[in-house]
């Protein structure tokens, strides 16, 4: 058995998991790992400028590639700065591994020891218990390889999620004979088995008899790589497909049966038709409050079939008639086979006609004035210029909801946004992570001015690490989404929403060595996008827009999906 330090054992274990990138920032308690990293040829370290962004970068990497994203920080503030990023990955079920340095478990100076409130000590295991799928702290060097193998296994299997490994400094430094393993060993961790064939038959029966079926694809479809099966199911049943916000990209939104996303700011076609359906096939969705808006009226006429790999998601928010607890891809394959056997051809013509008619009447794209500097026009133009496999990330707020409404996602893993936690400042670092995973595809962050300044310092990372991405700042000089809520729900009593005309985003970009372009017309915007796509450095496109533009339509809190308000 090879003799090495804990830090070397960690890196060797990461290499065995095929890790090629770590996003991180160093500090005292993680120095032994960085020391080992200094002569490592296989793992690229990307120096983030804030640990929260390192975690978002790891998540962007994970969600664009389907692989695990790895981030690293020192003890104390380094670790606590990761927290928002870890919580974000937990809410959106993204597989990331967070590595943190920790105060030693024992040592020469007994005041520099876990539990003594040492310099830069934080109980990161305690802090992250509620926001990680699992967390580890090795007590000896020998435990490290098995722990890393287990951590990757937990992060990627079942419902994915973040796993944290907290590394006491003495464990990083100690030297021992190390036995490596790639076999996970967690007897208490069990994955769902194959779907129950009786329930598959019941579900197939229900789908076959349905006159107005609808499919709701969530983020789980993307995780399971089950987009093809959703397309096949839609074609087989002639069923329209709507996605949740997290499911955007699970079904090509230029498909004639695509309805876009449901939800509070959902596509009106989807919000209407889900209420008219008689059978709902929901796949990989947790029926979040933003997707359902009102649990009592949500798809109230539909018998419901739910496929989810997490048993705890069954009947958590929505009571369903048939539940299938298993991998979405495998389950859909079985369901497709069972359904196609039973199905008579040529059924459901009236429903298809209704779908077509609803799309024509309700689409948010209809009243498009292509010359106005509106988010609708801008994002439509962007879609035309961006290749199909171009990756879109968003910040949080109006920019995010406009992107959901007006930017069609055509492939899985091309739309990356903070769905569950709603973290402002997520989009830009996520774009950097996505670009590292997919260096040959353009990556665009749709930002608001409020969100972008929350992680603007990562411009330094993108420049020094040579990771060119595009940031489009829809700049309305206010915190737009809360301003909209104050306008519509608080009777225009504006409070603390003004951002002023600062910073100058062109100068800001230039200060970091990036390219800054201000565009005040659609034509200039189109030109700027073309320039940015062909540029070798990060480009920030500042697009001033009217602060009074709302995201419409909108379901006010407490109302059902079809009760959307607002003239769109």
């Amino acid at each position: 058995m090879p003799k090495m330090s804990g830090a070397q054992a960690l890196l060797e274990s990461l290499e065995q998991q095929k890790v090629d990138t770590i996003f991180g920032i160093l500090g005292g308690a993680i120095l032994p790992v960085y020391d080992a990293l200094s002569n490592n040829k296989k793992i690229r370290h990307i120096l983030a400028r804030h640990e929260q962004c390192a975690a978002h970068e790891a998540e962007g990497y994970a969600r664009a590639s389907g692989r695990v994203g790895v981030c690293m920080a020192t003890s104390g503030p380094g670790a606590t700065n990761l927290v928002t990023g870890i919580a974000n990955a937990y809410m959106d079920s993204s597989p990331i591994i967070a590595l943190t340095g920790q105060i030693p478990t024992c040592g020469v100076n007994s005041s520099y020891m876990i539990g003594r409130d040492a310099f830069q000590e934080a109980d990161i295991l305690g802090i992250t218990t509620a926001i990680t799928k699992y967390n580890y702290q090795p007590q000896t060097v020998m435990e490290i390889p098995q722990m890393v193998t287990n951590a990757f296994y937990i992060a990627t299997t079942g419902r994915p999620g973040p796993v944290l490994i907290d590394l006491p400094k003495n464990v990083q430094l100690n030297i021992a004979e190390i036995k490596f393993t790639n076999k996970p060993n967690i007897r208490s961790y069990k994955l769902p088995q194959s779907p129950n064939p009786i329930k598959i038959n019941q579900a197939a029966e229900l789908l076959t008899k349905s006159q107005r079926p609808i499919i709701l694809a969530g983020g789980g479809v993307i995780t399971a790589g089950a987009s093809d099966e959703i397309v096949q199911m839609s074609d087989l049943l002639m069923a329209p497909v709507t996605t949740t916000f997290m499911g955007k990209g699970a079904f090509p939104e230029n498909h004639p049966l695509s309805l876009g996303s449901i939800g509070m700011h959902g596509n009106p076609t989807a919000n209407r038709l889900i209420s008219e359906a008689d059978v709902l096939l929901a796949v990989g969705t947790r029926f979040s409050d933003r997707a359902t808006t009102n649990l009592d009226t949500f798809a109230q006429d539909a018998k419901k079939i739910q496929i989810d790999i997490d048993a705890a998601e069954i009947n958590k928010n929505i009571e369903v008639d048939i539940s299938l607890i298993a991998d979405a891809k495998e389950t859909l394959k079985m369901l497709l086979a069972a359904t196609s056997k039973k199905l008579q051809k040529g059924e459901g013509k009236t429903w298809t006609k209704r779908v077509k008619e609803a799309k024509e009447q309700l689409s948010p794209m209809l009243k498009d004035n292509p010359r106005d500097m509106t988010p609708k026009a801008l994002l439509s133009e962007l879609r035309k210029l961006l290749p199909q496999n171009g990756i879109i990330t968003t910040e949080v707020g109006q920019n995010q909801m406009w992107s959901a409404l007006y930017l069609q996602a055509l492939q899985p893993r091309t739309f990356i946004s903070s769905g569950g936690l709603g973290t402002m400042g997520f989009g830009f670092p996520a774009a950097i992570g996505a670009k590292v995973a997919c260096p040959n595809r353009p990556v665009v962050d749709i930002a608001g001015d409020g969100s972008f300044i929350m992680s603007e310092q990562e411009l330094a990372c993108s420049i020094t690490e040579d990771i060119p991405v595009i940031v489009i700042v829809l700049n309305n000089s206010v915190l737009g989404m809360v301003a909209q809520w104050q306008r519509t729900l608080y009777d225009r009593r504006y409070s603390a929403i003004n951002l002023g005309k600062t910073p100058d985003f062109v100068k800001l970009a230039e200060a970091y060595g990036a390219q800054g372009i201000r565009t005040e017309s659609i034509d200039k915007f189109k030109k700027a996008i073309k320039t940015a796509i062909n540029s070798k450095i990060t480009t920030v496109i500042d697009v001033p827009i009217n602060p009074e533009i709302d995201v419409v339509p909108f379901v006010p809190p407490g109302y059902g999906l079809p009760q959307q308000r607002g003239d769109y």
Binding site: L125, I154, I186, S188, D310, A312
Partner: protein, 170 residues
Amino acid sequence: MEAGKTNVISVLVENKPGVLHSIANLFRRRNFNIESITVGATQHKDIARMTITVNADEKTLDQVVKQVEKQIDVLKVEELEQGNFVMRELALIKVEIVDSKKRSDVINFVNVFRGRIIDISTDSITVEITGGPDKIDAFLNLMKTFGVIELARTGITALSRGIKSIKIDE
């Protein structure tokens, strides 16, 4: 949360640090109403048993069981079937004694309830009593008329009746 009935779930977990924290944390985070939790050894030295009583309606209880089951260190969860399990709780009750009449009254009650006196002084008696929570409540109500100085209850621990057991698949 809507009031429901009291349910007992028995959970076998890996006997290692952090597990109690993650289970307790889960209850707080999900806003589940924990009435009592006891943790102790089982016949396997690497497995501990948690007996948790929760006040929940049927839907919430279903979520409690599923969320607990989902915890990585949980080997098995069982909802103990109403009427088909045995449970015990232990309470230590320190009662104030002002005169010898009161002392003999307390001793009589202790005998009726098959409790044990484990400490006695000129002005106090400490009683150990085990049983179901109802029995302990009844005894405690009697003792309150004398004046309870201190009380410590363990929370319940429970097992299903008969040969049945929670099996661990290795």
